[in-house]
Amino acid sequence: MVGGGGGVGSGLLENANPLIYERSGERPVTAGEEDEQVPDSIDAREIFDLIRSINDPEHPLTLEELNVVEQVRVQVSDPESTVAVAFTPTIPHCSMATLIGLSIKVKLLRSLPQRFKMDVHITPGTHASEHAVNKQLADKERVAAALENTHLLEVVNQCLSARS
């Protein structure tokens, strides 16, 4: 129902009016990248480009626009085949934190060479149940089991689908 002048919110969203951040532009293509011979190592920006366009589960916005992921919170070493991504939930009690972490993890699993060991965790001190969530995300079996769950897989796939 519409209130005549008054305000009636639905109360469905935990954080109904999030701050929106600017999206970074496309990575400019360098001459080196166009040269057949020069190998381009996998760097932080490349990892960031993989995850920045993931959709937030409850807003029509990307993780980048919500500042949940930032390039400075990506650590990667191509020679050592390691990548670590810290993400920052928009509010400390965000119940979507595990789901966001799972989406990032799945995106990396689908997009990075198998040799990579990946660590996805919450930016320290930004979430009430930081350790519990981190533990779940680090547990390979739990991640695999989560993806067996049709409903969860559906939500993750939605987060990873290109926005139309």
Binding site: M1, V8, K107, H151, E154, N157
Partner: protein
Amino acid sequence: MAAAAALEAVAPTGALWGLVHDFVMGQQEGPADQVAADVKSGSYTVLQVVEALGSSLESPEPRTRARGIQLLSQVLLQCQSLLLEKEVVHLILFYENRLKDHHLVIPSVLQGLRALSLCVALPPGLAVSVLKAIFQEVHVQSLPQMDRHTVYSIITNFMQTREEELKGLGADFTFGFIQVMDGEKDPRNLLVAFRIVHDLISRDYSLGPFVEELFEVTSCYFPIDFTPPPNDPHGIQREDLILSLRAVLASTPRFAEFLLPLLIEKVDSEILSAKLDSLQTLNACCAVYGQKELKDFLPSLWASIRRESNQRRTILEMILGFLKLHQKWSYEDKDERPLNGFKDQLCSLVFMALTDPSTQLQLVGIRTLAVLGAQPDLLSSGDLELAVGHLYRLSFLEEDSQSCCCSSALCPGRVAALEASGALAALYPVAFSSHLVPKLAEELCRGELDLTRGDEPTKCSRRLRCLQALSAASTHPSIVKETLPVLLQHLCQMNKGNMVAGTSEVIAVCQSLQQVAEKCQRDPESCWYFHQTALPCLLALAVQASMPEKEHSVLRKVLLEDEVLAAMVSVIGTATTHLSPDLAAQSVARIVPLFLDGNISFLPENSFPCRFQPFQDGSSGQRRLVALLMGFVCSLPRNVEIPQLNQLMRELVELSCCPSCPSSSTAAAKCFAGLLNKLPAGQQLDEFLQLAVDRVEAGLSPGPCRSQAFTLLLWVTKALVLRYHPLSSCLTDRLMGLLSDPELGPAAADGFSLLMSDCTDVLTRAGHAEVRIMFRQRFFTDNVPALVQGFHAASRDVKPNYLKGLSHVLNRLPQPVLLPELPTLLSLLLEALSCSDCVVQLSTLSCLQPLLLEAPQVMSLHVDTLVTKFLNLSSSPSMAVRIAALQCMHALTRLPTPVLLPYKPQVIRALAKPLDDKKRLVRKEAVSARGEWFLLGSPGS
């Protein structure tokens, strides 16, 4: 006979009585539809139904009356088109009367009236009577949602068909409606009600003294705060309500005195969406409001905008909206300019934004400045000087640290600043020629001096920005008179060896010149000024560079490089296409003799050590300048007569087959083709064609200049294909024959790409060439069967040439033309994928990729081959092929999912490999392709 008919009519009425009884007393729903169907088929009349209902319509029990009327209403809803005028009058009377009845009855009564409101046979006067009765008898807002909706429908129906009658009610109608909708809360009803209010206003119903009431009854919903419930079956979105309310509020200036205070209040709201809605509503108002409505509110609106401090960008957007509004006013009233009082505040706000570190704010600031400048007589010369100062600074804005410093097009702030310079310079040429051009010229000079001491990239890019700023501001003829000499002077300075200039530097100057030339095209006088100033200067520099000299300055060599010549060709072409024919004739009378006779008298500096004879002289430097001649003569309007044409064409053919220097012989062939394309059909054209064909045939026979003869053939063919000349098929056949030539075959295959693509320097529409729009389709139809046949007949080693030629043709063809031919061509294309030539692979992949998107059904038949071949090519040694193959893998996901699912595990495994490709651009494509394959048939995709 009459008795028989009466008997027949009586018989089924028995059944009718039964049905009515079942519905009214038996509470069954089915009989209503049965009765309606029977009435429709003519078994009974409506009158008979009323008679059958008889007692129930008069029953003392309200439930029975309600049930009776419900049946009648349901019948009427389906059969209103059968009613006679007489019946309608009775029914209306009956229903109006029933409006006074028990509340249980009202819903059915309203349904009946809705049926009657749709009735064509409704006699004049009754619509008004029905509405009056409703307004008087029904308290609409105490009815359930559906019944309120019925009332709105009755009103809407009457407004659509009885507009004149309703208008006869005067303001009573408006007042009645205000009472009907007052307090409405349901979004479905509101959408209809807003629509009615909008129509009341836009169709000019009398509002009488009720303007404020009508405003109140709608504006109380502003700003809309509505979130659709989860799983809402009605699908009404917040945005629907916002837009339809906005359409009402902004529909008339008569609301202005009430609406503006409301908007001012909401601009101060804590809620961002309310602020934005207010701004957008205000902008919508601009479409209908005049100066009168807004000027009294401007001070308070301005004050509330000034109070805003958090959303600086939003505020500037608001101001931008205002200024556009003000622009509108300025046409309305020349004497009153209410914005003048705020001008200083506005300027300081805009200038503050221009110095802000946030790019977004800068951008809005620049846009605002441009709109501010477009207000006549608003900015003082002091403001302009400041503004120009800011634009000067912004023209040198650094890009983000991440991007490379020399790719100058990337910084949005700088691009916007250059655009704003252009827009404002056109309006205030004096301010720009006195405050911007001299500073830029000085900056360039400083660069010239500095550069004797080495060439750092920062200085180089600073000079580049200077050049861009100069060309961007050249939007007024008087400014061109200042900037063109600066640019030409800069080029001469480089030539004198006062600075070390690289190829890219000279090309940058040429690009700036080309942009200035483009801006001059609109004004014939500027166009001629540019042409007669720049061309002699460029030609003189080039001729001098081509002279044999003991000590060559660095630039002299640079000026003769292919890339630099191409940049100069583009300047010359742009400065020529828009010349008027008589001025073009003046110019051609000097330039052709320069090349044919060495007549250098019109060049500004013309003391050269030896003669300029590009067609006779042996020096390759002079011959290279034929490209400049090409740039000029091939851009002339078609009706300009070219002096010494016969001699010129012969010289061009000769030079085109001269084996010494490929670039000058190609330029000569292109120049010949460009002229040929524009010649009218006739003896002269035939002679030139014969000349070319003879030369080509002689040249193609074994000897040193086969490749030159081939180039001439290719360009002449292109010139003829573009204009559908009858000889073109003959030449195309000759070209196709060369596909099996061991020496020229690959070049001939690539030639098909040239035939199908658009050139930039010659044979362009802009350069007045004759280009028929369907030439590609025609070429396809005429030649593809022969290509396919040639492919099958060809020996193994030359087969790839046919495939390459074919894929070039298909690649450039509009999809709709290609699709019907697809089934026959597809097997050939798939074969082409196995060809070992990278160019064939690439060209075929880029041909297949859009087909996967456009014709998934046809492509599905070959899914097995496609998957295998694309995956193979995704590990090709060529990066471009790997990228294209992965893009095709991505496009494959558009095929019907059931076709793809059997391949999903295999593809996902195979695509893991390119995720680790050494090239980032390949990995990027692999990621997106693999991501899409994961989603196939998976929930949520």
